[in-house]
Symmetry: C2
Subunit: 238 residues, 2 copies
DNA sequence: CGTAACATTGAGGTCGGTCAACCCGCGTGG
DNA sequence: CCACGCGGGTTGACCGACCTCAATGTTACG
């Protein structure tokens, strides 16, 4: 028997750390746009690949690196003292994470799927940013947007029912993932969703079922959801 | 009879907007430190005074202003469609708010006590920041710190019991307010605390009573709390 | 002193957590 | 081919923490 039985059922199960490769960044050529933040990131960053369910950043790492998701999905999380896992945020392709990492206490970061990220030292980026005020302002904008998202998250979490949270989550994901109409492909498991919303896996499951039963959504497969009745969903979201 | 009875008891009661004054900033003299962010803020900002319970920023304002609290306490909030009020954050002297405001949809900001704030246009600040990379990096640090706080807030809110939330709140306030040992002066009402933690006022009240009864804290007066048993409190917080 | 806003206390209902069983798809191996 | 285990997901029964509604206490301030 494993730790499995000694923890609450929804506790995070650590996954074996697998090997990963950092390959020289193929896009670091002479023709990068050094006046855009993205260009700078490609200039000073290296691409790293991680398989699914691998830890990218450890909880007490220095926090001096910045990451840009190239492909796949990443989440940041923290393990609470009682074994529960709280997910800080999900990061989809194009998103940057690591901005909120300070020295000392951190969130950890883990891959949800196979992932390619662009890694760079904050100091290296900072040095370059100093020379380009356009890039500096872009970096600031990026952080401000991340802050807005965190604030919205706070609003979503506090004082919302399970249904409101789940619907809010669906909308957030729909908005963020390269929105192809009203079909939504979720990269994360029910457990991930639960840990993100501060609910249990059972409640997420029941809530989704209720939404489907009411005709608001259709659960085509476990990871695929179609919006059926937008206005009803809007109403449920507050 | 007022709207009072038609709303949930914990709903936000709008307060009459009172007059306020923007006075020329007395500190805008020749000797400001233009290479520090704070110096720049004083350079381009004006001091405004607001009485208690006044709206500073309306929910659908442009969001092009930045505010630094000089004295008093401010909160940002949102009124949900069912009348509940959700507080985004509290801001104490020295704190800066408005960073997360984007055009379009915003949080509103309201004073909790009498307040003096330093107001400035983001654009004006941005122009000055361009010339001082030290100030630019300070501004970035400031935003990053705010982001970290929002993330911690997310952790506090999701999947925590009422007791954990209240204790976490007490610790947060204790850390942030010019910490004089283990005595804590709360500027906000129970209702504000409840709206911040996503609880009801009754639950906050009962939880505080339970904490006092267990000997962890002492409620000297409504707004004054003394920590009696730090280690017990730490244990309750997760 | 009187009033209104704020806060506490009590009784009862409800939503979501807990625990447990079950389902389903998938890979493995006999 | 089926048996089996395994992980993720769903479903059901029960229970407790927190919300709701209502009454009562207390503080602040004219």
């Amino acid at each position: 028997m494993l730790i499995h039985s000694t923890r609450p059922k929804h506790a995070f199960q650590p996954t074996a750390l697998r090997k990963f490769s950092i390959v020289p960044n193929e896009t670091t050529d002479a023709d990068v746009e050094i006046d855009s933040l993205d260009g700078l990131m490609h200039l000073v960053g290296a691409v790293a690949s991680y398989p699914s369910r691998t830890e990218i950043v450890h909880e007490d790492e220095a926090g001096d690196r910045l990451y840009k998701v190239v492909s796949g999905t990443v989440c940041t999380y923290k393990i609470l003292s009682d074994g529960r896992r709280q997910i800080g945020s999900f990061y989809l392709p194009g998103d940057v994470f690591g901005l909120e990492f300070l020295e000392g206490h951190n969130l950890a970061a883990e891959t949800i799927t196979n992932v390619k990220v662009l890694v760079m030292k904050k100091s290296a980026l900072a040095a370059l940013v100093k020379k380009s005020s356009a890039a500096a302002s872009e970096l600031f904008q990026l952080t401000a947007r991340e802050l807005t998202r965190a604030q919205n998250r706070v609003l979503l979490l506090s004082s919302k029912s399970a249904q409101e949270r789940v619907v809010g989550f669906l909308f957030e994901m729909s908005k963020r993932s390269s929105g192809t109409g009203n079909r939504l492909e979720l990269p994360m498991s029910r457990q991930d969703i639960a840990d993100y919303l501060g609910l249990t896996i059972e409640t997420v499951s029941r809530t989704l079922w209720a939404l489907e039963h009411s005709g608001a959504i259709e659960i085509s497969s476990r990871r695929r959801i179609t919006f059926r009745d937008l206005s009803r969903l809007m109403r449920l979201q507050q």
